[in-house]
Amino acid sequence: MCEEVKFTVRPIFYDEERVKEMLKKLSVSFLVVLVSCVFTMTVNAAGYPERSLQGIIMWGAGGGTDGVSRAIAPNVEPILGQQIVMVNKPGGTGAIATQFVHSSNSDGYTLLFGAENPQLYGVLELSKLSYDDFYPVNILARGQVVIVANNDMPWKSLKELVDDAQKRPGKIKMGSTGPGGVPYVVGKLMQTVTGFDVAPVPFDGDGPGITALLGGHVDFIPVNLSAASEHIRAGRVKALAVVDSKELNISGTVVPPITKDYPGFGKYVPWGPFFGVWCKKDVPQEAIQKLVDAFKKGADSERFKEFIASKEAIQMNISGDEATAFLKKWQSVTTWLLHDAGATKVSPADLGIPKP
């Protein structure tokens, strides 16, 4: 191969000595790279973790996933005895980060910090991957969803909202997001159960959605409780229902369950987003065990519990088979719900997702 290179190079570089020297340098540096690659690949899991880990966050800085990920990492670092370098790799509702972690080495040094999104990639045709391709190190918490309305709206309950929507179809503006977002999915769920007809206006997420609600640019929005709780507490918006079968108490304000007037929601609730940590499936067993133990302990710390409580989320702290069962159920409920609402591109049946 060297001969060939020299031959083609000669007409351009007349100084053959220099070319030879260059090639020599190149081959030496190539060798160095190769050797170092081999070394990093043969690191065994016995002393895991021997160096710092990389945590890939699938959403951008400042979002809900980012917040949870950056809150858990410092609690786990002292237990692992290594630093977790957190990196945001947003894009494609997390598909890029998921792909990245999946194509990284199976050595347990690259972790995926994510939300529920990959469970919908298949039906929305965003990526072939889902959490089936990863090992759930810990599902840290799940969020609750509330349906909040602008204070200027006349409705006092969800029933009044639905009745009003029945009376003037397509006139009530519902804050939403792109497919897969929490407001989008709950909007579809409400449409499936109540059959109401509202005009969804998609925003970039819960935050921008609730901002639009406060400004009166949409009339109601189903959002993560963490984005809405302070506004409910301040009385700036009114909570009509919580997407659960149990009522919710926010500093004395009682929010009725969505099943109160519409028992049809019963088979779907509680529904909400979730946050967790994953690694590749074929990471050595010892490494997985160390990660699971460390995250279990870290998530159990007072500091993290307080954080989750302040975000109005519900701590889960589950891993392994328990987590897998949760993920499967979530995927089955949500994909079939979206499918029945006509919002999927691929039928969950084609992806082998069982009906709930």
Binding site: G62, R70, V87, N88, G92, I96, G170, T177, G207, T211
Partner: protein, 504 residues
């Protein structure tokens, strides 16, 4: 402001460790800001983990310092190397870099530092005095208003086109198209991705910014590689009072633009500084030099606005718990981690936090001016480095910075592609700035328009009616129309008609 508020205001001033943290943060921020690709958002989110076990006041002092320093720092590389260190400094490079090429880098940095300080203080004053009012005003902006704001910004293409309007419009349209690449956030549908997951995330506009400004300029300078660099005059760096007073009215006007745009939850310092530049170009009749060739007015407007936007971005964060821009979104996360609950109740439950943050901002802004004024002489010398050394360094810096945005190699390829493309554009007399403008404003325009139409039952007629029905929207509509009409031949005719009527 009660007695305890005063004591909280001065808390960071009187506590030595907080004072040093703010100073250190500001100093680090200036350098983080100056390196393209290393963003303040990223730095602040890394600090969340770093300051996890700290006291909240100490953590905030450091982060506020990085924020203030970072926004200002972006102007350094924009002036010296034509690479905006951050998106908020794009407009700074329009006149800042020509100034450096004239040998006035020292004065340019000196003026921009003081003016940034003034802009910053104006932003903080508005935050301290009128935060709730401004926040309520910002909430009033509907999707249609964001559309009009984006349109207003896009009209800046007209003044950035250089020799040919057609070429400028072409470049702007190209930018808008490039801004559409990636997953459409409203339908989760890939646009111009050709089925590739790598393209699903879209083209980050900072990659385009680094490529089109920095790398293409580096390539372009290869033409004159053996030319001796311009000698920089660093004798009078600190601008005189006369100069400051002369530019003060413009600085105040553009700072107000900065505060409002900064306070809007959908827009930040990048759009604020572009609109401020546009405002300067429209209102300043006799600039010190033509705009684009080293006019101090063209430097002052964006620098006032982007620093004023900091105070602006704090307004919705502290009053409503809604981020005013990407950095304040991270701040909100930090407040949660430290056990606070950002939201409309925060000012009522914990008013001292508000005054602590305001006081801290003032302190950080002061440090920014102090640190900004030091070392200018050495920095100005960067432009005097032999091009054989400077150009490769710029390219290395660009690659590293681009990779740092999303830790994604695809971005680096895009950046290099933009560099070569930008070089070709310059060779054929196209301006690169309209492309960036298009990439930044295109998606805002696209989504705002679709939201506005969806809000009016998908009826275009109702949408048009909406444009004049609401007072705020009506003002914006008239402003956009005026901006367009005043640049056509119709305007002198209309003025003539008006004068005739008057005399008759």
């Amino acid at each position: 402001m009660s007695g305890s508020a005063v004591s909280y205001f001065f808390m960071a001033w009187t506590d030595l460790s907080l004072l040093l943290l703010t100073a250190g943060g500001t100093f680090a921020g200036i350098y983080i800001g100056a390196i393209p690709g290393l963003s303040v958002t990223m730095a602040v989110s890394i600090l969340i983990s770093f300051t996890f076990s700290w006291d909240i006041n100490a953590a905030l002092a450091l982060m506020v310092g990085v924020f203030c320093g970072g926004v200002y720092g972006g102007s350094r590389s924009a002036i010296l190397l034509n690479i905006p260190g951050a998106p908020a400094s794009i407009a700074t490079s329009f006149d800042g870099f020509p100034l450096a090429q004239r040998g006035e880098a020292g004065q340019a940095i000196g003026v921009s530092t003081l003016i940034s300080g003034i802009g910053g203080y104006i932003g903080i004053v508005v935050l301290a005095v009128a935060a709730p009012t401004v926040a309520e005003f910002a909430l009033k902006f509907a999707p249609r208003d964001y559309l009009l704001l984006a349109l207003m910004g896009l009209l800046l293409v007209g003044s950035l086109s250089g020799e040919s309007m057609a070429k400028g419009v072409f470049a702007g349209a190209l930018g808008v198209t490039l801004g559409m690449v990636g997953m459409d956030p409203m339908t989760a549908e890939g646009r111009f991705t050709f089925g590739s997951v790598a393209l699903l995330g879209g083209i980050h506009f900072v990659t385009a910014m680094i490529g089109l400004f920095g790398v293409s300029e580096a390539f372009f300078q290869l033409h004159s590689i053996h030319l001796k660099p311009i000698k920089q005059d660093v004798s009078k760096i600190i601008p005189s009072w006369q100069v400051i007073l002369k530019y003060l009215p413009l600085s105040i006007r553009t700072s107000i633009i900065g505060v409002i745009i900064g306070a809007l939850p959908g827009t930040g310092g990048d759009i604020a500084s572009l609109m401020a530049y546009d405002h300067a170009k429209r209102t300043v009749k006799n600039p010190s030099r033509p705009f684009g060739e080293g006019a101090y007015e063209g430097l002052i407007a964006p620098e006032s606005a982007n620093n004023a936007a900091i105070g602006g971005a704090y307004i919705p964060m502290l009053t409503l718990g809604i981020p005013g821009d990407a950095v304040t979104a991270v701040f909100i996360g930090a407040l949660y981690i430290h056990g606070l609950r950002p939201g409309p109740m925060m000012m009522i439950d914990t008013p001292h936090m508000f005054w602590f943050m305001v006081g801290n901002l003032v302190l950080a802004n002061t440090f920014m001016v102090i640190f900004g004024m030091t070392g200018i002489k050495i920095f100005a010398k960067i432009v005097e480095i032999k091009k054989g050394i400077l150009i490769p360094s710029i390219i290395v810096l660009s690659v590293v910075g681009t990779y740092a945005i999303n830790n994604n190699m695809t971005d680096v390829y895009w950046m290099m592609g933009f560099g070569i493309f930008g070089y070709l554009m310059k060779m054929f007399g196209y301006q690169v700035a309209p492309v960036i403008l298009g990439i930044i404003l295109g998606p805002l325009m696209d989504q705002s328009y679709r939201r506005a139409i969806m809000s009016t039952e998908n009826s275009f007629g109702l949408f048009l009616l909406d444009l004049i029905k609401n007072p705020l929207t009506c003002v914006l509509t008239v402003a956009v129309l005026f901006m367009i009409v005043s640049n056509t031949r119709l305007w002198p005719m209309f003025l003539g008609l008006f004068k005739m009527k008057k005399s008759a």
